[in-house]
Subunit: 205 residues, 2 copies
């Protein structure tokens, strides 16, 4: 569900692995279940804080759990959700946490006749909505966040497709083509998503 929404998600099968991954990947947010094999959610919180990780932590708890919510927050968690919960609620909490931590100054991008509303995940061209698949949208976001900078295919792959995912570099090309088809005034003469021959691509707002 989170990936559908454009988040990059890493998962861990137990508490110990989760703790390691959190330290290593330094994600924007950690979601922890209270009941875990290997290490309880509580312990993870404590340890992550002890390791000086500033990442916000969202705790999931089952309805039967007898938990001291205050203790949880004191220990380093930033929010908790009690099962059962809907995906909409979880999403809202996640967005709220992320917003609280990094106030995300810009929520709407503009260039040419295109408008991108990050919060609503909507791209409009001349006022009309344009559909974007998850990877197209992620690629677009990466360009928007790095205007003017030359971006090599490797940088794009790392940031958009992720650390551990390794498709062919030509995959980037094809998605750039798709962005151009959807957003360029003349897709054959790119104005915003330009090619740097021998280097990569560059977004010029």
């Amino acid at each position: 569900m989170l990936e559908q929404e454009g988040f990059r998600v890493h998962m861990a099968a137990d508490g110990r692995e989760g703790y390691e991954k959190a330290l290593l990947l330094k994600p924007d947010l950690v979601i922890v279940d209270l009941r875990l094999p290997g290490m309880t959610g509580m312990e993870i919180c404590k340890q992550l804080r002890a390791s000086n990780l500033p990442t916000p932590i969202l705790v999931l708890s089952a309805v039967g759990d007898e938990i001291d919510k205050v203790l949880l927050l004191e220990i380093g968690a930033d929010d908790y959700v009690t099962k059962p919960f809907g995906s909409r609620e979880l999403l809202a909490r996640i967005r709220a946490l992320l917003r609280r931590v990094s106030p995300e100054g810009k929520k709407v991008y503009h260039f040419g006749d295109v408008e991108v509303d990050v919060e609503r995940r909507v791209v409009e061209r001349k006022g009309e909505a344009v559909k974007f698949t998850p990877s197209e949208y992620n690629l677009l976001m990466y360009f928007l966040q790095n205007p003017d900078k030359p971006l090599t295919r490797d940088m794009i792959l790392n940031s958009v497709w992720g650390y551990d995912h390794y498709p062919n570099t030509r995959t980037v090309d094809i998605h750039v083509v798709k962005l151009r088809q959807k957003l360029e005034p003349d897709p054959n003469v790119p104005r915003y998503f330009t090619t740097l021959h021998g280097v990569g691509y560059r977004f010029l707002p």
Copy 2:
């Protein structure tokens, strides 16, 4: 493989030699295998950190190794890769580490009516952007980084074209000509990219 990618690589046959070389050469990145003759990867990490070397360290571990990844990270390693891994993955990790550590300081060069913005990879003359191919741009960077120094064709070939790549030395000439055409007030009377007859070239800002 790394040399192919433009990195300069030093190797060591055992842990002790690697430790000494790392201290001596102060490289941008250290790659250590966990199982080493002479000194284990763990010990190297610890010692390098104890010696106040800020260099990022990437650890390679065999799949069978029972390693405490957290301990590894706490001891001073910055990332680890478990064998078997592909060269693309290794490369990506290396690039990510280098990027994380040195955020690429803002650098802008000036000379005459020319301005070079390294981060944006943009060269402007009288405020107008001038296009540069990869090798032209690399050559320009090399001149910018070595002002006033006489540079022989061999030095230029080594640094710009790379260690193991040896095209005709005349290739340098032609690229110098192109720089002049694009950046000199009068390309026939070089002012910035001057010829040292019998020696090579020199950049005078």
